[in-house]
């Protein structure tokens, strides 16, 4: 495919267009993704999650500059929510990443969730593959400002950075399960507000070594540019840890498993949305409503008789 060849040559316009094809689920998207897949797997994918307004975009903006100085090509996929009412979105992460301007070694893509939950869009990690194939070394994925349970990012990224800020809850908040268990690196941003030390020590108290990696807590101020080098070093250190042990392979397996499972779910949804199968599906729905069958048994029967779309 022409567009794939252009992406592999480093053509940004083609990469932008291919990401749109994937988002819109265009006819050629599946074929294009299959063609680029062998050229992926080189980039280090780093996810950023944490509550809205904690400074994820501003931190990424600082990190882009830091890694550009270190001569790495940097990509960003930044996800913002789609309105559930109108389907529209205002994507504003780019405002805080405008320092990079026309730097040829940077590619930033804003993405709306388009109804997908978990803090990511359906196309997020396919867009990551496009950037990987484009020759980007380091890809930051910024989730929707997540609450306490949007943890999908951890099974998709190689390194997950959880960003918190001072004065956002006491030691009990840090004890809660979910988002505070998924980080490979924890950041207390906005140290300029004061109170960062106690937040950092509350977090630090909760963290344990897992499979040879003890998540560090890094204090930063994206506003003042403090702690950015330390955070960049921590990201690189985690990369070396993953590559040195079995971590990289394990993360890749997690990701592959998740993507395979999601692709199967998607195929199933497609299979039952066409005209003939869709009607059969609706018949079964009716049978479940009137208690002629139950959802679990009906699912078994449907899967047994399934004909997949070509």
């Amino acid at each position: 495919m022409k567009i794939v060849e252009q992406v592999l040559k480093g053509d940004k316009r083609a990469a932008g267009k291919l990401i749109s094809m994937i988002e819109d689920d265009d006819a050629g998207a599946t074929e294009a993704l299959a063609a680029i897949y062998p050229h992926t797997g080189k980039a280090h994918v780093v996810g950023f999650t944490g509550p809205p307004g904690v400074g994820k975009s501003s931190l990424i903006n600082r990190l882009i500059r830091e890694f550009r100085v270190r001569d790495r090509k940097v990509g960003v996929v930044a996800v913002d929510p789609t309105s559930p009412f109108t389907g529209g979105a205002v994507l504003g992460d780019r405002i805080r990443m405008s320092d990079t301007g026309t730097d040829p070694g940077v590619f930033i893509r804003s993405m709306a969730t388009r109804g997908h939950s978990g803090g990511l869009a359906l196309a997020t990690f396919d867009a990551v593959k496009v950037l990987d194939a484009l020759g980007i070394d380091l890809i930051f994925v910024e989730t929707v400002g997540a609450g306490q349970s949007e943890i999908d990012i951890a099974s998709r990224a190689h390194t997950t950075v959880v960003v918190q800020m001072p004065q956002s809850g006491d030691a009990v908040q840090a004890l809660k399960a979910g988002i505070l268990e998924i980080g490979d690196i924890y950041v207390v941003n906005k140290t300029d507000l004061g109170g960062a030390d106690s937040m950092a020590s509350n977090l630090d108290f909760m963290l344990e070594e897992r499979q040879g990696w003890r998540p560090p807590v890094v204090q930063t101020s994206a506003l003042e540019g403090k702690g950015i080098k330390e955070l960049a070093d921590a990201i690189n250190k985690h990369y070396r840890y993953l590559k040195g042990g079995g971590g990289w392979r394990r993360r890749e397996s997690d990701r592959a498993r998740k993507e395979l499972y999601e692709s199967m779910k998607r195929l199933l949804a497609e299979a039952y949305s066409d005209e003939t199968e869709g009607v059969a599906f609706e018949e079964v729905v009716g049978a479940i409503v009137v208690r002629k069958t139950d959802p679990r048994s009906a699912a078994k029967t449907l899967l047994r008789d399934l004909k997949l779309p070509k």
Binding site: R13, A15, E23, G88, A89, R94, G101
Partner: protein
């Protein structure tokens, strides 16, 4: 999934008055479009680079400083240079009537001055952005 209309809203040049751009951004959002807002003080090169990475169908430029004749045609020129001349460029802000034909000649597809009903702007993006 249906094709979404994606629009980049940008303020080239030095003025900081972005209320108009934000109001239009919100109207386009409410019309179901995805609006990438890039903020203030963008050079034409910055705007084109962002438009390419975001693969937008259209760019909305806003200026209230009087620098539109220097900046808006430059955006069209840089787009063409980068092989992205198919991206629609639309303008708004304080634009004297005399300048509108000149801007259109320079490749700006529409100019929306103060008082334009939001519905007109939405309708234009809907029918013109593919």
């Amino acid at each position: 999934m249906a094709k979404k209309i994606r629009v980049l809203m940008a303020k080239p040049g030095l003025d900081g008055h972005d209320r108009g751009a934000k109001v239009v951004a919100r109207a386009l959002r409410d019309a179901g479009m995805e609006v990438i807002y890039t903020g203030l003080r963008q050079s034409p090169e910055d705007i084109v680079e962002a438009a390419i990475q975001e693969d937008v169908d259209a760019i909305g430029l806003s200026s209230l400083s009087g620098a539109h004749m220097a900046l808006f045609p430059e955006v069209v020129k840089v787009l063409k240079k980068r092989g992205a001349g198919d991206i629609l460029v639309v303008a708004g802000g304080i634009i004297p009537d005399d300048d509108i034909p000149k801007l259109k000649k320079a490749g700006i597809k529409a100019v929306f001055g103060p008082g334009t009903p939001l519905a007109d702007i939405v309708a234009f993006f809907r029918s013109s952005a593919k």
